[in-house]
């Protein structure tokens, strides 16, 4: 165990004879996040597994790659770019969807599971406040998971890029075709920006909602999270024959790029239409973050009140 010597040093510092100082909130938060990652290893295993599978498929696809590139070199540049960028965009999309699923299911279970297995009684016996606990649980889908997914996407894309270049070189073609069509640095930076701003900040109210339901529901948090949204949409449709609520959700999900945009193009194309900074200036983002704060506040109060189920 590599943690041992370190931990012994720590505990001798915090020995009972010394006046037990407060543990700083930042340290409580870090340990609580670590605890979440121990429990929910799917947070990193699921995206890694998807990336691994995609890479495996991609390597098989590479077998016919030189021949295809030769054929494509006769075609126009746009087709060449699509052939090279296609798999890159697909892997990004797949991992983003994985991230959203992992984040959603994590959030639904975060404050429900600890009540269900009664371990909440243990966690509450430690000097960690409900605010720190909820903050640590919210930071997983909103920040950590997105950073992780972005990193995995960038690494996977890099491996794919290097592999195709190597294959092309091996077949006597120029690898520069690959690098000219894939602006690596720009794409990587944009990936992080996209994941943090859209999948993190814009989607934050969804995760906060799921966390709130998770801290409230006595059973079937999934139904409690989903059914009210469907009910509101249906009541609105029947009563007023409008769909503002549904549109609002889509607006938030697509990062304010509008309902038209999300219908007319695949979400993956959004990467190409990216204007960094635009989202940050949209009031929708800030309204969403205010709603996130409200949901998390309620989740914190509920966590204090609710016992094991």
């Amino acid at each position: 165990m590599n943690v041992k010597p370190n931990a012994i040093a720590e505990s001798s510092v915090a020995s009972p004879s010394a006046v037990a100082a407060d543990v700083p909130a930042a340290r409580l938060l870090v340990w609580s996040i670590r605890r979440e990652l121990w429990e929910n290893w799917s947070i990193y295993v699921a995206p890694l597994a998807v990336a691994g599978l995609v890479l495996f498929g991609f390597l098989i696809r590479l077998i016919g790659f030189p021949a295809r590139m030769r054929a494509l070199s006769a075609l126009d540049v746009a087709h060449q770019r699509d052939a090279i960028q296609g798999p890159n965009i697909m892997v990004a999309g797949l991992l983003m969807v994985t991230g959203m699923l992992v984040g959603a299911f994590y959030s639904l279970d975060a404050l429900y599971g600890e009540r269900k297995d009664r371990s909440t009684l243990f966690w509450k016996s430690l000097p960690v406040s409900d605010v720190v606990t909820v903050a640590s649980k919210a930071s997983i889908p909103i920040f950590l998971l997105q950073l992780l997914v972005a990193a995995i996407i960038v690494v996977t894309q890099t491996i794919m890029l290097m592999a195709s270049s190597a294959v092309l070189l091996g077949s006597g073609q120029s690898a520069s075709t690959v690098s000219t069509h894939v602006p690596w640095v720009q794409m990587s930076l944009m990936m992080f920006y996209h994941l943090i701003v859209l999948h993190g900040l814009w989607h934050a109210p969804f995760y906060a909602w799921l966390l709130m339901v998770s801290s409230w529901a006595r059973r079937t948090p999934f139904l409690w999270a989903v059914l009210p949204a469907i009910a509101i949409g249906m009541v609105e449709k029947v009563a007023f024959n409008t769909r503002y609520f549904g549109d609002m959700l889509i607006y938030q999900l697509t990062g304010g790029s509008g309902i038209g945009a999300s219908r007319d193009m695949a979400p993956l194309d959004m990467l190409g239409h990216f204007e960094p900074g635009r989202e940050l200036g949209t009031p929708g983002l800030w309204i969403g973050l205010a709603v996130t704060a409200l949901f998390l506040f309620v989740a914190t109060r509920l966590r204090r009140q609710r016992g094991p189920i």
Partner: protein, 291 residues
Amino acid sequence: MAIIEARGLRKQYGTTVALAGVDLHVEEGRILGLVGPNGAGKTTALDAMLGLIPYQGELRVLGRDPWMERDQLMRDMCFIADVAVLPRWIRVSQLLDYVAGVHPRFDRVKAEGFLAKTNIHRTSKVRQLSKGMVTQLHLSLVMAIDAKLVVLDEPTLGLDILYRKQFYDSLLNDYFDRQRTIVVATHQVEEVQHVLTDLIFIDRGRIVLSCSMEEFESRFAEVTVNPEQLAAARALKPIQERLVFGRSILLFDGVQRGQLSALGEVRTPSIADLFVAVMEGRANTAQGAAA
């Protein structure tokens, strides 16, 4: 300073009154046993002290309001609420790391020392441990915390007799000193009798008996009465009379031992026997009132 101070502590769940105005005063260095039948309000009282539920009335634990200040309170107190609340997915080493990370008064070396005396491996997950081992693990953690107050709610429920005995032995020998206070709620009264300094019986949300163990020993006496003196013994108004192997055993509250020793063999009753007597007495009074 009083470790726990409660005045008119009330808790209601819907129309069910779980605590109907409880007054409590626990001094430092005491080991208080909270004894009562199922649904008497023991766990509710403990939950209120631990900041797990809101309540009406006044309650101070270590000078703090538990409901508002649970996290600060937990620096100086710890609890084993019920058995098997340790998360099943966690590894023993992770548990040690985590508690060492968040608890300012946790002594990891001490915890490792306690664990070394058990068969619990650092690499095991809690789910792989037997119920007795989980309790040992939890106790090792709690005993490595330099707390002023320890609250235990049925800490030995469902354990076999070896673990049960060991539990209280380690708690008393390796942990308890006059600076600490322990509150334990349990059904298994016979195993805490020699451990307690104070005793509280609680029934239907009220305290029905509250005394120190010294008081308990001087106040209550159990007499195996000689048959010819049964009438004389009954005149002293026993709180309970029962037959064991054809001999009458009478339980007295507040009768001089000198007076009793003339009637037969005098003993201090077990908490369990007194508990049964008090609860039967209450049931009879309630029936009498109803009839």
